[in-house]
Subunit: 469 residues, 2 copies
Amino acid sequence: MNRAALLDALRAAVGSSQVLAGGDLSAWELDWRKRWRGKALAVVRPGSTAEVAAVVQACAAHGASLVPQGGNTGLVGGGVPDDSGTQVLLSLTRMNRVRALDAANLTLTVDAGCVLQTLQQTAADAGLLLPLSLAAEGSCTIGGNLATNAGGTQVLRYGNARELCLGLEVVTADGEVWNGLAGLRKDNTGYDLRDLFIGSEGTLGIITAATLKLHPQPAASLTALAACADLKQCVALLALSQSRLASGLTGFEVMGDFALALVRRHFPHLPQPLAASPWTVLLEFADSEGVDSARARFEALLEAALEQALISDAAVAESIAQSAALWHLRESIPLAQSEEGLNVKHDIALPVSAIPEFVEHTDAALRAAYPGIRLVNFGHLGDGNLHYNVQAPEGTPAGEFLGAHEHGINRIVYDAVQAHAGSFSAEHGIGALKRDELAERKSPVALKLMRAIKQALDPQNRMNPGRVL
Amino acid sequence: MNRAALLDALRAAVGSSQVLAGGDLSAWELDWRKRWRGKALAVVRPGSTAEVAAVVQACAAHGASLVPQGGNTGLVGGGVPDDSGTQVLLSLTRMNRVRALDAANLTLTVDAGCVLQTLQQTAADAGLLLPLSLAAEGSCTIGGNLATNAGGTQVLRYGNARELCLGLEVVTADGEVWNGLAGLRKDNTGYDLRDLFIGSEGTLGIITAATLKLHPQPAASLTALAACADLKQCVALLALSQSRLASGLTGFEVMGDFALALVRRHFPHLPQPLAASPWTVLLEFADSEGVDSARARFEALLEAALEQALISDAAVAESIAQSAALWHLRESIPLAQSEEGLNVKHDIALPVSAIPEFVEHTDAALRAAYPGIRLVNFGHLGDGNLHYNVQAPEGTPAGEFLGAHEHGINRIVYDAVQAHAGSFSAEHGIGALKRDELAERKSPVALKLMRAIKQALDPQNRMNPGRVL
């Protein structure tokens, strides 16, 4: 590779000021969890789809590979360069234009580099809802959300990023632009290229724009906490809630007692309205009618759950501020975990029906193998998605303990996931972190199909190499 | 190809009695609209996934190509053999086992050859809803529904077949079995193979089983008709309905005056509760609370629409029988068209916001080019999906007129669809019928990507060749 010639070609593609090849590039080279630090040949910041295509062509001509990056909030090391100093880091953040909002069609067409929260606000300003919502929404980009098929807190009602996307614009490995920005609910003209690029983590092409589905804003939204004695009760409460509230049930989060105990320990000022119980469920109900109807239906559900002895206690938020406080409690769990010390995180999915047995089995297996180990279990039960995390035994140096046992812990957890027909990556993707896991655990037939597709669409392996496959 | 050796291999794969190589095979060789008649080397009826794999391997060994078929209800000639007498017709209808119903996970895992209506009933028997619903449901199979990404009448609320599927089992072109039957709402472990096979019309592999999403059954479902003066009012009524009823709005069908006039002419016994108006909308509302609440909300919506002068009249069905009669009216339009004579059908999708202008423009262009032409316009307005059909001028021999003008009519319609960012195949697929249309109208970049994928997964072009691409 002729580095100087490539840099010249990149400068010709996007302008000299948008090619950063010296100085502190850690904003792009280091992931936000500080687990991966790479070294880019250059950081390139195109301002348009045509410039992205020109960058891909320049890299092709000079034999360089590309790592696309949005808000750099990924959790699996999929968006930072490797340490070879030969990869071009393509940052999409300058591409942040809202291209069109079509209220009658309930669609929003935007550049890939738009920040998710900005788009939520754009929709809200038009009286509509963009229901993708996750912790990093203040800095993640919609292109990254789609490249990783992001999930979040409203998947139960509205689906993952995939289900919220009607069309894409993509720059292919050949440096060509595929304009698939249709705003259509039905379109059966050939293979589903859209969903192939969604979730492919930049390894098949670079998403430069998307047409998103919008929804009407609910008339009222209410939040409640409920206390359950075991996970079977949580699953039964989910079924009752779905049957009574149907798609009005927009959130169903579960929090284990130790997860909330960590929040009490590290954030004692946060109110916890219910007494400690083995499991606390956060329910959210969005109603299209109004707040009175919403409250009546929500309270009737919780009364029925009390009568059926599925819950032992419940509290409905009385205000938007109280609702926000309940969500804040839920969202404080990962922060409390960090305060408590290093830990191993798992982002797993299971059939909802398998969760009680999975947790009982896996808790026991981990406790037998690692006496004193502490399990922080919480997540999107309505989607079958648990953040099943592991904290070192109290008083043990966490770094040392995890250094010695992380691999063994992962093996116990992922073996159990596999035995229960689950997924070892529910919403965070594969990236660099779980590539070996994928190679080991995905069926050989699926891997063969994936490799054939990668080879077909990126035969030179220039698009985010070393990720996913 | 050694025909005798291939037949021997097929008999070894599935048993002699399930290889039909003589006699009247028109049940498989002729499509139900009687537009395509082919000649199969043999009809093979495997009873298990392993047998499907064995058939694919036998065909590979002997250089034969395969045409998979479900209920043979497709509309685009995608499921019948060509007339070469060299293709193996693989009928999935013997694979009709329900493998598992997991009520707590809201999933149903079934063989590909199960009839859709049977599965709707299976779900209903468990107190749950499988919301895929379309005219052919009494004989189409779920494998065919998925291979063509079928739509139907409840897409507005529940999505296409794609959105109702969580996992697939597929026999690949290599004769291997990919078991992707996960019942997970979140699974980001690699490329989205599921959605690639869905809608690929048997050209990439053979779907042998699927895990489907179920939903809670609504507590009450109500249907109404409303009269609109023009399509802009219909679109405004849709927005009002979505805003007030949110996901409770499960159906929003539009019927043009001439479409209903044909029903009056050929089925005079069918009641039409509203006086003739330029457009009649059929609305369906499913409520999770109960029939009283449903009726109150539905009537409030229609009153608001009357006040806002979006509609001039409305009638809410008073019983399940009346609801069924309203749907029957809508479903009688294609039959009335057949009674009236040969016609040209278009299954198109547009951004909802573009529909009024599209129809005004295209009606005028067709009437200018073909004086006296009669337009039968109806469809799933909520999905942007119109069945925009064309009947010969009154009194003109239809066969002659269409023989001379079908191509010209299609060109005007599809050019207008393209100009309005629409799709020339919303829910029926490509098959043989629209292959040339796809080659002409899809972007060259998309076609290049599709061909690369086809080449990667089926390099010998043995899977349903000549369809889609």
